[in-house]
Amino acid sequence: MGNMSYKDFASDREVRWCPGCGDYSVLKSVLHALADTGSEPENTVFVSGIGCAARMPYYINTYGFHTIHGRAPAIATGIKLGNPDLEVWVITGDGDGLSIGGNHLLHMFRRNVDVNILLLNNEIYGLTKGQFSPTSRYGTISPSSPGGTLTQPVSPCHFALGSGATFIARGIDVDQKGLVALFQASKAHRGTGFVEILQNCIVYNKDAFENVTAKASAPETQLHVTHGKPLVFGANREKGIKLNPETLSLEVIDAHKTPGEVLVHDETNSLIAKLLVDLTPPLPTAFGVIHRRTATPFEDVFFTQRKSASRAPFDTLLRRAIIHDHREDASPE
C-alpha cells in the first residue's frame, strides 16, 4: 500500500533489548504494519508507559512519547482529543497496562477512543528485573515472591471484554505474519483496538508460553479463529469446539464427523468472546480477532458535539450573566 518500506519506519536509535527478547519481533511487525497500511510518520504517534516493551517508541521513526508508568492510555486520549486526525498507538506491558494502569485501560475501552493498544504480555516485570506481574501464573517464583505467587492471573482479553472493549485480539510475538494482520485489523477498526501479544522475556520468564507457542505442538495448543469459520484445531483441523447447550460447558468433538455441531466464530457475539477468552490449557488458546463490534469512537461524538455547539460569540459569553449596564446611553434590557 504505502510507498515507504518497513525499514523507513525504523528510527536511527540502536535497539537495546536483551538478545533473544520477543520485543524485537513485535517491533518488526509494527514496522511492517505501518508500512503496509501507509501510515504517515508525521501523523503517527506512539505513546508508551514504562517497561521494556514501553521503550518501543524510541525505535520507530514517527512521533513518540515515552511517558510514565501506566498512564499511556490517558495521555493517548488527550492526544486524540487534541488532534483527532493523528494515528495513535499505545505500547504497554502486563505490568504497565494491568497493574498500575488497569483503570486507564478500563476507561479507554469504555470510551472507545480510536487508539491501537498493543499489550506485550510476558507475564513478568521485565524492566525492574523480574518480579511477578498481575498476569503471572499462580505460584510464579520471582524475587518478590520467592515462595510463589498467591493469586490467579488476570486475563488481559477477559478484562478487556468486561470493560466493554470493541476490538479484542491475541497474537504471538514471533508470529510476524499473524501480528501484522492483527495490527492492520486494529488500525482499520474505528475505536479502541486491543491486541494482547504473548511475548517471551528470555531473561526473567523464559519460555513462559512454550506450552502454547511451541511449533511442534501448535496445532493442538492454538485455536486460530476467523469470523464466520468453525472453531477447529488439530493437525488436520479435526478437532472442533462445541458448546453443550444444557450445561453451557465446552466440549472438544470430532470436527470431521460432526462438523455441524462445531461452533462457528462470530466476532460480534460477546458470549463467544467470553468463551474464547476462557480457553486455557489443556484446551487450546485462542488467537486472532476474538471480538469486534461496531461502535462510535469517543472522539467522533466529542467533536460532533463540540462543533455543533451553538456557541455564542465571546462578547455574548462575556455578558452571559445578568448585566448591570451603566453606560450613559444604556436602557435596561
Binding site: 521513526n61 490517558a74 488532534n83 478500563l106 448591570h324
Partner: protein, 623 residues
C-alpha cells in the same frame, strides 16, 4: 424598639435559610438590583457542608451575603448589619457574626416548636430576651406568601417555594432598589408558564407593597450613601469560576489555539468545569477524566499534540497530579494546572477555604522540578490571572500552577466587562517549529530560545519533525535519552534557569496602597487581597502608617521584590496556612527573614477585618 432609616457608606446583607429555600437565587437577584443601582459590591455564597441535610437543621443552612456601597468594595464583609433568616436554624447559625444592633428579619411562621427544636433553641428567641442586642423584625412571611398565592393554582409546596420572591420584593423596598431587573427576568424566565410567571410577580409585588403599607415598616428603610458611584461602563457580577472560564476562552483567542480542559469533579474546583461545559466554546473543550491522574495526563497529551492542555483540581487532587507534572516538566510541555485550594489535610473541609497548597505547588514533586506558581486575588481577577498564567506556560514551555481557593469560587465581584482587543496576543513556540525544515536534525528540534530556554513546540500533524520525548533524562542538544552525568547536571541547571528566567518577563511588584515611608508593609497573596486591603485602609484611616503589596507571582518572585521589601523594617504576612509564603520568603530572600511577621488563620474562613486590624496594630507596635 423603634427602627429608623439608616444611612451608611455600605451595608452587609445576609440571607440564610434551608438549601431548598432558594437563598442563592434570591441573593443573585438582590445583587443584580444593587448592580443596576450603580453600587459597588462583592458577594459570598456559603453552602452547607457537603452532605445535603434534612430541612430545618443547623448544618443544612445555606447563606448568601453581599456587601455594597458607595466606594470600591473588596470583600463581602464580615459582620452583616441586615439579615433575613428563613427559619430558626438560620438564625441560630448566623447570630454570632451579626453586627450589634443589626436588623434581623425573620419568618415568624417558621418559628414553630419542631423547627426550634431542630435548631437547638430551648425557648423561642422571638419571645424570650435573647435577641435584645438586635433589631428583630418578625414577619409572617409564609402566611403573606400563601395569602398572595391563594389566588393561583399552586400546591402549598410550590407556594412555599416562593417565599424568597416575597422577601426579595420586600428587601428591594427596604433599600429602595429598582424592581424591573427582577420582574423583567421573571417574565423572560417563566414565559412558557404564564401562571407561574404571574404568581411570582404577584409575590414580589406583595413583598414590596408590604414594606410600603405595613405599620412601622417605613422605619426599616436603609440607604447607602454613594460616595463614588461606578464609573460609566458595562458591568456584571462575576464568580471566580465564570471569570476563569471566560479567561480560558480569551486565552484560546489570544493564542489562536484550541484548549482541552481536563478535570475530575471535586469541590470546589468543579464549578469551573461546569461553567466551561455550559459555555460550549468550540475552542475550549472539556473532558471529564476517570481521575485526577488521567485528567493531568490527558492535558499533557493535548499539549503534546498541539492544543493547550489545562487540568484542574483541589487539594488532594493536586497531590495526585504530582507524578505527571514531573513528566510535563521533563518533556517541557506547556500545561496549566488550576488548583482551587480547600481546607486540608486529606479530605479536610472540602467546602472551606485555605491557602495551604502553596508549598505543595512549589516543591511537591520528585527531583528538582521547578514550576512557576501564580495566584489569583479575587473572583473577577480570575480572568486576568488565567491569562497571565497561560502566557507563562506557553511562552516558557512549562507547566504552571495557578492557585485559586474556595473563597474565590464562592464569592462574586462586580466586573467591568473587558474588550478582548485590548489584550496582547499570546505567542507560542509552534512558530519556532514552523520555521524548521521538514526532517530537520534533532539538534534543531531541540534548539532553545535564547531568552526563555524554551524548546520549539514541534507537534505531530503540523510538523514533519519526527522525534521522541519522555520522562527519562534527555540530551540537551538532541533530546535523545542520555545517561551522561554531565548532561544531567546541565539539564537540571537548565530547568532551574528556565524557571528563573520567567522572572525576566514579570512586571515589577509595587505597593497597592500606602507609601514606602510606611512603618509596616502587609504582604498578601491570593484571595486575602480584599480583606487585607480593607483592613490596611481602615488602619490608615485611623492614623496608622501601613502599606500593602500583593503577589500575583508567588514563584519565582519578581526581580524587584527583594528591593521593595527591603524598604520596610517590618513585613506582616497574613495567610490562611501555617506560614507558607513566609517560609518561601525566608528561604528565597533570607536577608529579609528577620523582618517577617506571620499572621496565620486556619479555620476555613476568610479573615475578619477585626482580627486583621488587630494583627496589623500588633505588628505596628511590636515592630
Amino acid at each position: 424598639m423603634l427602627h429608623s432609616v439608616k444611612t451608611r457608606d455600605y451595608h452587609v446583607v445576609r440571607f440564610a435559610g434551608d438549601s431548598g429555600d432558594g437563598i442563592q437565587v434570591q441573593g443573585l437577584h438582590f445583587t443584580n438590583a444593587i448592580g443596576f443601582s450603580g453600587h459597588h459590591l462583592s458577594t459570598l455564597q456559603d453552602f452547607p457542608a457537603e452532605i445535603r441535610a434534612p430541612v430545618g437543621t443547623t448544618y443544612g443552612i445555606s447563606a448568601f451575603q453581599i456587601q455594597f456601597g458607595g466606594d470600591r468594595i473588596r470583600t463581602p464583609g464580615d459582620t452583616p448589619d441586615v439579615m433575613v433568616a428563613f427559619n430558626p436554624a438560620a438564625l441560630k447559625v448566623n447570630l454570632p457574626i451579626l453586627e450589634p444592633g443589626a436588623l434581623v428579619i425573620v419568618d415568624e411562621d417558621a418559628f414553630n416548636p419542631r423547627n426550634l427544636k431542630k435548631a437547638g433553641f430551648e425557648s423561642n428567641p422571638l419571645e424570650d430576651d435573647s435577641l435584645t442586642n438586635f433589631d428583630v423584625y418578625p414577619i409572617d412571611i409564609t402566611n403573606q406568601t400563601l395569602q398572595t398565592l391563594g389566588l393561583f393554582e399552586l400546591s402549598r409546596r410550590e407556594a412555599l417555594r416562593s417565599r424568597n420572591y416575597w422577601v426579595l420584593g420586600f428587601m428591594l423596598w427596604v433599600f429602595d432598589l429598582p424592581r424591573y431587573p427582577l420582574t423583567d427576568w421573571i417574565k423572560k424566565r417563566f414565559e412558557a408558564t404564564p401562571e407561574v410567571c404571574r404568581a411570582n410577580l404577584a409575590v414580589v409585588n406583595a413583598g414590596h407593597a408590604f414594606g410600603e403599607i405595613a405599620e412601622h415598616a417605613h422605619v426599616l428603610q436603609h440607604k447607602t450613601i454613594l460616595q463614588k458611584p461606578l464609573e460609566p461602563g458595562e458591568y456584571r457580577t462575576i464568580r471566580g469560576s465564570e471569570a476563569t472560564a471566560l479567561g480560558l476562552s480569551a486565552v484560546s483567542q489570544l493564542a489562536d489555539m484550541d484548549i482541552l480542559y481536563c478535570s475530575y469533579p471535586i469541590t470546589p474546583a468543579s464549578a469551573i468545569l461546569h461553567e466551561l461545559a455550559s459555555m460550549r466554546d468550540p475552542r475550549v473543550a472539556t473532558f471529564q477524566a476517570e481521575d485526577e491522574i488521567a485528567s493531568c495526563c490527558a492535558a499533557i497529551g493535548a499539549s503534546y499534540s498541539g492544543a493547550f492542555g489545562v487540568s484542574s483540581s483541589s487539594g488532594p487532587g493536586l497531590a495526585l497530579k504530582a507524578e505527571s507534572l514531573g513528566l510535563a516538566i521533563a518533556s517541557e510541555l506547556p500545561l496549566l494546572i488550576i488548583n482551587t485550594q480547600r481546607a486540608g489535610p486529606s479530605t479536610g473541609l472540602p467546602t472551606k477555604t485555605e491557602q495551604a497548597d502553596l508549598l505543595q505547588s512549589v516543591y511537591g514533586r520528585n527531583g528538582d522540578t521547578p514550576v512557576p506558581v501564580v495566584a489569583a486575588k479575587s473572583s473577577a481577577d480570575c480572568f486576568q490571572a488565567v491569562i497571565d498564567a497561560s502566557r507563562i506556560a506557553l511562552r516558557h514551555m512549562t507547566p504552571v500552577i495557578l492557585l485559586h481557593d474556595g473563597y474565590m469560587s464562592n464569592s462574586a465581584d462586580l466586573w467591568a466587562i473587558p474588550d478582548i482587543d485590548d489584550y496582547e496576543p499570546i505567542e507560542t513556540h509552534l512558530t519556532a517549529a514552523d520555521r524548521l525544515p521538514d526532517h530537520a536534525p534533532h539538534d534543531a528540534i531541540f534548539e532553545r530560545d535564547p531568552d526563555t530556554c524554551a524548546r520549539p513546540w514541534a507537534i505531530p500533524g503540523r510538523h514533519r519533525l519526527m522525534h521522541r520525548v519522555g520522562g527519562l533524562e534527555s540530551d540537551i542538544r538532541t533530546g535523545h535519552i542520555s545517561y551522561d552525568p554531565e548532561n544531567h547536571q546541565i539539564m537540571t541547571d537548565m530547568r532551574l534557569e528556565k524557571i528563573r528566567r520567567v522572572a525576566d518577563f514579570l512586571p515589577d511588584e509595587t505597593l497597592v496602597q500606602g507609601s514606602f515611608e510606611s512603618a509596616l508593609l502587609v504582604l498578601s497573596w491570593g484571595s486575602t487581597y480584599g480583606h487585607i486591603y480593607e483592613a490596611v485602609e481602615t488602619c490608615n484611616k485611623d492614623g496608622g502608617s501601613v502599606a500593602q503589596a500583593h503577589l500575583r507571582f508567588v514563584h519565582p518572585f519578581a526581580h524587584n521584590l527583594e528591593v521593595l521589601l527591603k524598604r520596610f523594617d517590618t513585613i506582616l504576612v497574613p495567610e490562611h496556612n501555617a506560614g507558607q509564603l513566609a517560609t518561601l520568603i525566608r528561604s528565597e530572600l533570607p536577608a529579609l527573614a528577620s523582618r517577617i511577621r506571620q499572621f496565620n488563620q486556619i479555620n476555613g474562613l476568610p479573615f475578619s477585618a477585626l482580627d486583621l486590624i488587630d494583627a496589623i496594630r500588633g505588628a505596628l507596635v511590636d515592630g
